[in-house]
Amino acid sequence: MAPQQRKPHVCRNPDLIRGVGKYSRSKMYHKRGLWAIKAKNGGAFPKHEKKAAAAAPAEKPPKFYPADDVKKPLVNKRKARPTKLRASITPGTVLIILAGRFKGKRVVFLKQLTSGLLLVTGPFKINGVPLRRVNQSYVIATSTKVDISGVNVEKFDDKYFGKKVEKKKKKGEGEFFEAEKEEKNVLPQDKKDDQKSVDAALIKSIEAVPDLKSYLGARFSLKAGMKPHELVF
């Protein structure tokens, strides 16, 4: 049978005040039905047999006892999670990048990666911003949204954007200099194809909205009289 859905149980012993329950110990015993369990089991509460403790391998006495007590590090139960995403940033939001070589560019948000960085694309044909990671702190979220339903971003993760690890080559003296020259950063063809496939569906939904294409192609800048704390984005 599939695991039964249990309804979360309401408290059997509601508080009168904090620390004082409504029912006494004897009433609670009756409510919990311990008498019925005991009766079913012939007068005593059913017990499990203790599992025989697995014999621990005989430990050798340590070779070295430190002179002073060694401190144990404090227990840390924190889990790493991706940065909390601002409520204004949802898939399809137009973001304004504030720093880096694409500062001022208006760009479409695709998804948040497990590292917490935001996956973003220009689209490349419109404003030259490729599939790229961007930190949430360096971004203004506008209230303009683009329809992103036709885009599949499942395959992109942080490893896709990591630096490629090269195998170490044996250094011969003459070969060394030539090898240095040839190491140009050519973008592999499959990355270009990924960009094209992501942008194809996006550009269609962008062209459906009038002026949105030229909006994404233009850079944002503060002009005279614009007060950022008063602007609605």
Binding site: V94, I96, R106, T142, S143, T144, D211, L212, S214, Y215, A218, F220, E230, L231, V232, F233
Partner: protein, 134 residues
Amino acid sequence: MPFKRYVEIGRIALVNYGKDYGKLVVIVDVIDQNRALVDAPDMVRGQINFKRLTLTDIKIDIKRVPNKKTLIAALEAADVKNKWESSSWGRKLIVQKKRASLNDFDRFKIMLAKIKKAGVVRQELAKLKKETTA
């Protein structure tokens, strides 16, 4: 030089400071030299200092401290809302509010529209200039 807008019962005023900033209220009673009792359809009747009010040209016909129902009826009868929104002061406030609520995309679209309009105007001007010199 003489005053045109007086503090009187039924005078519509604009609140220019405080929690009710930007609201249109009716003066329903004068408390003392500095304070008035004001009321509006969407607020609880209360006192406010004259310094927080700016008087408008609109006045309605009410008795001292009417109840809410009578007040609303009097406002409807005098058609205050439309008079305010068609006055140049009221229109300016509406435009200010609209500008403040513009999206980044809206601002972009407005920029395009301004450029287009300027282009059309310049073309017409060029045509007229040609006619006068010809």
